[in-house]
């Protein structure tokens, strides 16, 4: 599904990604954990075309997409739900979702997408005429995810979906991730909440200072002593 080879990204002189290689297979949930500033967001932003890599390769469904314009990558079926949700605050929930389906041209397909989304998030249906900026943090996160699903992506990148949410909402988000995977969407998940993330993932990568420090089955990573100490806060 997604293959990344030796990716290097810079912010001016700051070398943020120092040769990242990683693979996401069809149907998997892969999680990316790592401390603040490790380069997780930089990685997904580079994959989605929001920032450009200086070297290396991103291949999605056997097509090279390195440094393509972001909107072209969305059209191919790869979507990012960005850190901080980034909903359009002054637009209604419905318009936000309509924008999620911006690349779809088929009316019927868009109608179905609304139906699926409202089924997954009944709250959003209730609030569909409300401005997105007036939703609670949890609802905005649901909207961000629902919006990304509107165009039926093959691969969904989720950047810290549980950030700043109350514990019971966090649980809902993780249940949702399992549900979305069941619907056939492949997921690359970034999480601070490494514990929960490792539970819902098949495989995991640990990012350290712009490099891949460790990779393996989620179970194995969760059992690793160093990971338990640094990222899971266990002894």
């Amino acid at each position: 599904m997604l293959v990344i080879e030796n990716l290097h990204t810079y912010y001016g002189a700051i070398h943020a990604l120092k040769g990242i290689s990683l693979t996401v297979n069809d149907g998997e949930v892969v999680c990316l954990i790592g401390a603040n500033g490790a380069g997780k967001s930089t990685l997904v932003n580079t994959i989605s075309g929001l920032i450009h890599a200086r070297s290396g390769k991103v291949v999605f469904q056997d097509k090279e997409i390195t440094n393509l314009d972001a909107y072209k990558i969305v059209k191919m079926g790869l979507r990012l739900s960005p850190e901080g949700r980034e909903v359009f605050p002054d637009l209604t929930v419905e318009d936000n979702l309509r924008l999620g389906a911006y690349v779809s041209t088929d009316k019927k397909q868009i109608e179905d997408a609304y139906a699926r989304c409202y089924q997954l998030f009944p709250k959003l249906k209730e609030r569909r005429r409300q401005q997105a900026g007036t939703l609670s943090g949890g609802e905005q996160q649901m909207l961000a995810i629902g919006r990304a699903l509107m165009s039926e992506p093959k691969l969904l990148l989720l950047d810290e979906p549980s950030l700043g949410l109350a514990p019971n909402i966090v649980n809902q988000i993780f249940e949702l991730i399992i549900e979305i995977q069941k619907q056939g969407v492949t997921i690359l998940l970034i999480e601070q909440n490494a514990n929960m993330a490792l539970q819902v993932s098949n495989r995991a990568y640990v990012l350290e200072n712009g490099t891949v420090g460790m990779e393996g089955k989620a179970k194995d990573i969760a059992a690793d002593n160093r990971v338990r100490q640094i990222y899971l806060g266990l002894k």
């Binding site: 989605s48 969305v74 980034e86 911006y102």
Partner: protein, 291 residues
Amino acid sequence: MLLQQIMNGVTIGMTYALIAVGYSLVFGILRLVNFSHGSVYAFGANSILFLISLNIGIIPAILIGILLTGILGVLIDKTALEPLRKKSAEGITSLITTIGVSSVITNLLIARLGSQKKAFPALFPTGEIIVGSIKFTYTQIGMLVISLALLICLLLIVERTKIGLAMRASEQNITAAKLMGINVNFVISFTFFLGGMSAAIAGTLVSSYYNMAYPNMGYTAGLKAFAAAVLGGIGSLPGSLLGGLVVGISESFAATVLGSEFRDSMAFIILICVLIIRPNGFLGKKSIKKV
């Protein structure tokens, strides 16, 4: 007398509104005051006058001129502004660039057509309708109807179409808009196109109203329309209409009450007074911030 002044002010104010929407739409997305817009307006009027002189018929000349002016708007963005965005240049760099572009366009017009004022044909039949104490000339009625129709079209485009939704999304958050699959550069080009076309239509109406066009005509009109856009709340289409009307009407009064030499400063006097009380203009959003 009073009503007549208002009526005259409304007529010219509507054309300010048409120019103001160009500032407003572009500012909405790029947070950039496009100071080349006045010269685009002048280009519209002058190119249409030139096309009319080629004897291709008035209507085709106007339509082609409007289209060309829209394309000029797109070209300004593509050649001068988009490269700066790609390099993430500071806002001030783009601002100065638009001032430079303005000089270039005005100069090219002067070089090609000469700087003198030239007669612009009347577009509407002479004649008037008198209602009570107010006199409506056909020209005024024509200007009002066309301006209003155009403003309604623009509003419908922004509020009711897919590209309009993309414009509103880009206005709020360009990064998120890209993540929706929106080609933001296309949206920006489209915005410049709409602004250029509206300016050309305004230029045609004003030139026909005063029976003249000249390359420097965009300078004062551009500044006043900019004042109107800020007055109404830059980024808001209804704001542009309101701002345009306030500027038009106050000018009309200033000219009769204080004398015609006060007309051109009226827009700015009002602008300064209103901004002290309402820093975001009449209908401006509370805080326009760059995301």
